[in-house]
């Protein structure tokens, strides 16, 4: 059973989103996603200042098995990216919801977050996917 913090929002493409006090949204990939992909070898984050669209690929996580696109859960401008992943991509494996975050977006419509799943729904979604 993978780790699914209840306070986060989840996308069907296995990203998590955390709303910060300043209104920005931090994005990463879920514990389930990192587990499925295996050891990370390279993370390509978006450019700071770049405009990302919801459900549009804007980052790549590359493991020993595969290179996968990461989709932004919300539309907005990238205000910060996790530079440290360039040197230590394994952080995504070790701490997917913490130090392994990928980028932070200032959403143009915070309401978009409501369209995402909560933790329980995501857990159910994973169960359905497994069957």
């Amino acid at each position: 059973m993978s780790n699914i913090p209840v306070e986060l929002k989840y996308a069907k493409t296995h990203e998590w989103a955390r709303q910060n006090d300043d209104g920005s949204v931090t994005v990463g990939i879920t514990d389930n996603a990192q587990d499925q992909l295996g050891d990370m070898v390279y993370i390509e984050v978006p450019e700071k200042g770049q405009t990302v669209l919801a459900q549009e690929a804007c980052a790549v996580v590359e493991s020993v098995k595969a290179a996968s696109d990461v989709y932004s859960p919300v539309t907005g401008a990238v205000v910060e990216v996790n530079e440290s992943l360039a040197e230590s991509p394994e952080t995504v494996n070790q701490d997917a919801y913490g130090a392994g975050w990928l980028f932070r977006v200032q959403p143009s419509d915070a309401g978009e977050l409501d369209g995402l799943m909560d933790g329980d729904t995501y857990a159910g979604f994973l169960e359905d996917e497994a069957h």
């Binding site: 390509e44 098995k65 595969a66 290179a67 696109d69």
Partner: protein, 466 residues
């Protein structure tokens, strides 16, 4: 191992297993209007005897002229051992093996190739090769667009001193992806690309600048100044370089303050015969921080679980069998056999041997230019230093002269007017280490005679007497 994929019996067994009557029914879902039907002009199969005879006849059409032509493919000496070893059964497969790690010898050879190419270009990493120099430039262009994340534009500056065929190939491959290749004029005196030609683009968003060294005219570009200009604009630098010349010239990885970002080019000079134009192979090298954008296969050296050295394909997650439509490239093979030959060629010559080949080419070309320009009707076009090729202008129509030299089994050079209309009656001539002093004298003698004959017949340089 028999190289017969499946017998008729195998085919029938597989069809029976899936319940299909014949192979044609497997394609039923393709609508009739999308099918090509019969391919007209494709002849029926031939047996080995027939195909050998056909190939021999085709090869003989090339004749064995005394070759003073280069223009991208060069007549070099190939030590006999190169193809003797290359065609051993263990190497004699033109493909990257599918069960790659089972072929440790092939992987080690590719690894050695990559190491030597990285050394020659002064860059960190090399791939296992591409189809040829022209497609190599197209791939390098696509790679630069992907890699230059600072640039939002899809514009790449390409001097007209870059090989015309490379420019055409690159345009064919990239133009449907919205990439604009902007051509830059060359200096009419020097035959090189001047900073003045780049200045109109200063301050604009440019993804990359291509620099060919030596350029298509054989002239040396001021690679340091061009590289630094491009980097100052936030553009990447793609160096297109003749690998033989790299034994003498500053490698792309050391151009300017920071070095070119990507190097690519034609590998044919490294042990591949001219062969009527191909197959050849392309090479590509880059800085380490761009390696994930590099197309093609890369072999790495590693240790197995018992700590023994082994070789393996690496960075495959970027490739199309894993990344599908988002792969870095649809390149799915390399030119394995030709890379085998190139690796053996380079290892037999060594760095010093390759340097001597490059020096001999340069010397012979200087001798050739001196011998040919002794005739007043033959003049150098440009005043800049060259490597092993030089454009020479004839003061009378070149067509007749070229025909006459062909008749004496001399290939006198490449007529530049086909690609550069402003360079009428201009031959791009080349003398590799294969050309002796006697060969050069033969060319000069026949050229002088042809010019004499044409002048007597009414050379336009002679004043018409009333």
């Amino acid at each position: 191992m028999p190289f017969i994929p499946h017998t008729e019996a195998d085919v029938q067994e597989m069809l029976a297993a899936i319940g299909a009557g014949d192979i044609e029914t497997l394609f039923d879902e393709i609508p009739a209007n999308l099918r090509a039907g019969k391919l007209a002009g494709v002849p029926v199969g031939m047996n080995e005897q027939e195909i050998s005879r056909l190939m021999l006849e085709r090869a003989e059409l090339d004749g064995r002229p005394l070759c003073f032509m280069g223009a991208g493919a060069y007549d070099h000496h190939i030590p006999a051992a190169v193809w003797e070893i290359t065609t051993r059964g263990e190497f004699y497969s033109a493909y990257t093996p599918y069960q790659a790690e089972a072929s440790q010898g092939t992987l080690q050879l590719i690894y050695e190739f990559q190491t030597m190419m990285a050394g020659l270009t002064g860059l960190d990493v090399s791939n296992a090769s591409l189809y040829d120099g022209a497609s190599g430039l197209a791939e390098a262009t696509l790679m630069a667009i992907r890699a230059n994340r600072k640039s939002k534009s899809h514009r790449v500056l390409v001097p007209t001193t870059v090989h015309p065929h490379y420019r055409k190939t690159a345009r064919t491959i990239v133009h449907n992806q919205g990439i604009e290749l902007v051509e830059l004029p060359y200096c009419p005196q020097g035959g090189n690309t001047l900073l003045e030609a780049l200045e109109p683009y200063a301050g604009q968003d440019i993804a990359a600048l291509v620099i060919q060294q030596p350029n298509f005219f054989g002239i040396l570009e001021d690679v340091d100044a061009l590289t630094d200009w491009a980097h100052a604009q936030g553009a990447l630098v793609i160096g297109v370089a003749n690998p033989t010349a790299l034994a003498l010239l500053k490698p792309p990885g050391r151009w300017g303050s920071n070095g070119a970002d990507i190097a690519c080019g034609e590998g044919q000079p490294l042990g591949v015969p001219l062969m009527s134009g191909g197959p050849y192979f392309g090479y590509m090298c880059c800085k380490l921080d761009l390696v994930r954008q590099m197309p093609g296969r890369i072999v790495g050296r590693t240790l197995d679980r018992d700590g023994r050295e082994g070789f393996t394909l690496t960075l495959q997650a970027r490739e199309q069998h894993i990344r599908r439509s988002k792969a870095t490239s649809n390149i799915c093979t390399n030119q394995g056999l030709l890379v085998t030959a190139a690796t053996i060629y380079m290892s037999l010559l060594g760095a010093e041997g390759l340097r001597r080949v490059a020096l001999a080419c340069h010397d012979n070309t200087r001798k050739l230019v001196a011998a040919l320009t002794a005739n007043d009707c033959v003049q150098p076009v440009f005043n800049r230093p060259c490597f092993h090729e030089v454009p020479l202008r004839l003061t009378l129509p070149a067509d007749g002269i070229v025909r006459s030299l062909h008749a004496h089994n001399i290939l006198p050079g490449y007529l530049l007017s086909k690609e550069y209309p402003e360079l009428a009656d201009t031959l791009l001539v080349c003398a590799t280490e294969m050309r002796t002093d006697a060969d050069i004298a033969t060319y000069a003698e026949h050229l002088n005679r042809a010019i004499g004959a044409q002048s007597a017949a009414g050379c336009p340089v002679q004043p018409k007497m009333a």
